[in-house]
């Protein structure tokens, strides 16, 4: 994986080959778990980085919206960063000595493949909708957290179509089942692009979460650390106050499952390129995001509950 080109976008096959290489090179640190299958029967892989048994988990997912290519690319960079820094970077080593990191690089593989082969602008899953010519569900409106409320569409032709029922999408249900069966995930970060935001629950209601002061302060510190590298400006707050009302979102569900440190990132940029962020932005984006992730992971490690 030293020769892998982290500064380019890659196909699904290339990403899968990268994961296999990473596991082969680091057999004592990295394992590849299959947590389920997509609608089109592609495997859903999670890389588990673990330095010992029976640790709490810290989840990171990238690429649930397939066209947000910088997120999958950043996920690849994070995976390599983890194996480089473990044993070399004191702060990170302390984190991985206390918690496992669970990284799902391509959360919506059918959509990702579709963006490479057919429609670069595809966002949703690829499951057909009975009675409609429109395909796919927005997997960030499909979670059982205010499902069906405002901020999601009941129209299969819309980009924010919520699906027929909560967890109807296997890409979502597989994570739900994994999180429940794991039972000890303490932090959950779902990564999107673009807009440059760091947000915590809720999206489906204006009611503040009980841990809002702590989550707000941690978000402030995370974006300050992120900005320390290139000065990239992020906004932060709850989803509903920072961006918009969105029901059925990922981190609302994880928070309601008891995962206190639930956040969602919106990576670069703020509107020049949108989802077509040039490849030369991948590494700077990943580097600065890693600093934000480090702040959240360190706080989680120091405040296990």
């Amino acid at each position: 994986t030293d020769n892998f080109d982290y500064a380019q976008y890659h196909t699904l096959d290339e990403i899968n080959a990268f994961m296999d290489m990473l596991v082969a090179e680091n057999p004592n640190l990295v394992t590849k778990l299959r947590i389920g299958s997509s609608y089109e029967q592609r495997p859903l892989y999670v890389l588990k980085f673990s330095s010992g048994p029976n640790r709490p988990g810290f989840w990171i997912d990238t690429g649930i919206h397939s066209r947000e290519w910088v997120t999958q690319a950043a996920g690849i960079w994070f995976a390599k960063k983890i194996v480089i820094d473990y044993g070399r970077n004191q702060a990170f080593t302390a984190i991985l000595n206390k918690m496992d990191i669970l990284l799902e690089i391509v959360t919506n593989p059918d959509g990702y493949h579709y963006t490479h082969t057919t429609n670069r602008m595809w966002r949703k899953t690829r499951k057909p909708n009975p009675g409609s010519s429109c395909v796919g569900v927005d997997p960030n409106r499909n979670w059982d957290a205010g499902f069906g409320g405002p901020g999601a569409s009941s129209n299969p032709c819309m980009e924010t179509y919520r699906g027929p029922s909560a967890h109807s999408e296997s890409e979502v249900k597989s994570i739900v089942d994994y999180v429940k069966s794991h039972g000890n995930i303490k932090g959950f970060i779902s990564i999107h692009s673009y807009s440059q935001m760091l947000m915590y629950p809720y999206g489906y209601t204006k009611t503040p979460v009980p841990n809002q002061p702590e989550l707000h302060d941690l978000a402030r510190r995370a974006i300050a650390n992120l900005a320390s590298l290139y000065g990239t400006k992020y906004t932060y707050g709850s989803i509903i106050t920072t961006i918009y009302q969105a029901s059925g979102g990922t981190i609302d569900w994880t928070y309601d499952q008891g995962i206190k440190y639930s956040y969602t990132f919106e990576l670069r940029d703020t509107g020049r390129y949108g989802f077509l962020l040039p490849a030369n932005q991948i590494i700077p984006t990943a580097q600065e995001t890693w600093l934000g992730l480090m702040t959240i992971m360190q706080h989680t490690k120091d405040n296990l509950y």
Binding site: Y9, G271, G274, A279
Partner: protein, 98 residues
């Protein structure tokens, strides 16, 4: 492969809640085949919409008739996609670093 020749991405800046409401109506018009990159929710947040070439006139007319400020964020979506694809293909032919 779906082509996006002539498609543009508009950045729309609503002045008030009334304009947000008008934009919400616009995004519900399925016949325009709009791809909403950033939804209309609050006047402080920009709205980004990928508009297919066939719908450009209708959308521009709607925005101008309602005096909603907007500008072109991406002038030719297909050109950017072609550039991205070219970049990916060209790097595949570069010898791996030793």
């Amino acid at each position: 492969l779906k082509a996006f020749e002539g498609d543009k991405v508009l950045r729309i800046l609503a002045k008030n809640e009334d304009q947000i409401s008008l934009l919400q109506d616009l995004t519900e018009m399925d016949q325009l085949q709009l791809d909403i990159w950033k939804e209309p929710t609050h006047p402080t947040l920009p709205v980004d919409i990928h508009v297919p070439f066939e719908s450009l006139q209708s959308v521009k007319a709607f925005l101008e008739a309602n005096e909603i400020e907007h500008y072109i964020m991406i002038n030719d979506l297909q050109a950017l996609i072609d550039e991205e694809r070219h970049e990916m293909q060209s790097t595949r032919f570069i010898e791996p670093r030793n």
